[in-house]
């Protein structure tokens, strides 16, 4: 149940970070050209992908902590 509870909290936290912190990012507030827009979007994609990678890594570490300690694998 600990892993499920942790996953639940991480889903809340991850979705908050993506939609409330990453999505509103605008590193070129005064510019509206295509390159600025593209770079802005690219940054958001990279940050979101990094967050997803961190989420997956945390879940794998939790899995390893739970099972490998008990099974001595």
């Amino acid at each position: 149940m600990g892993i499920i509870g942790s996953a639940w909290l991480l889903i809340f936290l991850g979705s908050y970070i993506i939609f409330k912190l990453i999505v509103p990012i605008n590193i070129f507030p005064a510019r509206t050209d295509y390159i600025s827009t593209f770079l802005n979007s690219l940054l958001k994609v990279v940050l979101s992908a990094t967050l997803a990678f961190v989420w997956i890594t945390i879940m794998i570490k939790l899995r390893d902590f739970y099972i490998k300690r008990r099974l001595s694998v």
Partner: protein, 333 residues
């Protein structure tokens, strides 16, 4: 008050119809399948007894009949999409039951076809609602998520179908928060369309519980998973559904991350659990064995199959509880 009364009456009729159909069709399959040699071994019992398989057609037929009746009553295209998605996923499962798709990547790719009715009928709203901070616009990403969601959830339910009664019992518990969330949203047509999923799973559970008289096969597990997913999408209760089905998603995530590739579960050589002579199951200590939910449950010591399934139900109930909290946190946003 009159609306509530109509709702209760219709719910009762739909539930009774689906339950009865599934029960009678499954009973017929339990009697006829072994005579036709359509049986598989129950690996988790001494002597590996033969069990009738697949019971999916009974589940699929009764759900489709109920959904088509509900489509006739409500005229809601979303209900038609539920029927179509479930039917396509069930047919893919039947193909796998009959011809054994050995390559692990083929089934997920075929299951993308099951997602198409949602997109073609345009019954989705690309604004999922998250707890606390509300809905977000995903106009470009959402259709892609729909395409991958059905294969992911269907495969997740397929992978949890490993022990007697696990899948059918799990689906009953996991679907209850969806009904609750849809009632909170006052989306009564889709709430009604969810009833056949519970009724059919409950009727099938009577035969599937320990000791199983019939296994659902991929036709059953893929259909149930796909139906769960499409209800979540068209009913706009995506986040509640994800939380509710977390044990199955985590199970498939752990398997994939330990095996490190998409593989048909029948082709995994090292089994995650070992059957003891006294009938109990124990977790394998082989490092090459996949890490599964069952193996994690058994990590604390040997248990009987019935006890392992009970633990799966407890995890499912906990997820359902968290899903109901999530439904409250998204209510009215």
């Amino acid at each position: 008050m009159a609306i509530l009364y109509d709702l209760v009456v219709l719910t009762s009729i739909v539930f009774a119809l689906t339950f009865s159909l599934t029960y009678l069709l499954t009973l017929a399959l339990v009697k006829t399948l072994p005579k036709r040699g359509s049986v598989v071994e129950d690996y988790h019992k001494p002597g590996k007894p033969k069990v009738a398989w697949p019971g999916g057609p009974a589940i699929l037929s009764s759900i489709l009949i109920a959904e088509l009746i509900l489509y006739f009553v409500y005229g809601d295209l979303r209900i038609l999409s539920i029927a179509l998605v479930t039917m396509i996923a069930g047919i893919i499962g039947l193909i796998d039951d009959r011809w054994r798709l050995s390559n692990g990547i083929i089934k997920p790719i075929l299951l993308i076809l099951a997602s198409l009715p949602i997109l073609l009928l345009d019954v989705y709203v690309p604004r999922p609602t998250f707890p606390i901070f509300g809905s977000v616009r995903l106009h470009y990403v959402y259709p892609i998520l729909v395409l991958v969601a059905i294969p992911i959830v269907s495969n997740a339910t397929n992978m949890i179908d490993v022990l007697n009664g696990a899948l059918s019992g799990f689906m009953i518990i996991s679907t209850l928060p969806l009904v609750f969330a849809l009632a909170l949203r006052a989306d009564y047509p889709i709430m009604m369309a969810t009833i056949p999923l519970i009724a059919s799973s409950l009727a099938f559970y009577i035969f599937h519980r320990y000791p199983s008289k019939i296994f659902p096969g991929d036709s059953g597990s893929l259909a149930l998973g796909a139906m769960f997913c499409v209800i979540a999408i068209v009913g706009r209760v995506e986040i509640v559904a994800i939380i509710s089905i977390l044990p199955a998603i985590l199970n498939s995530f752990f398997i994939l991350s330990s095996v490190k590739r998409l593989v048909e579960h029948r082709s995994i050589k090292t089994r995650p659990t070992i059957l003891l002579q006294n009938g109990q199951l124990v977790a394998s200590k082989e490092s090459s064995a996949p890490i599964t939910l069952v193996r994690m449950i058994l990590a604390d010591g040997p248990l009987s199959e019935r006890e392992v399934v009970l633990n799966i139900f407890k995890l499912s109930a906990f997820s359902a509880f968290l899903a109901i909290i999530t439904a409250f946190l998204t209510w009215g946003i």
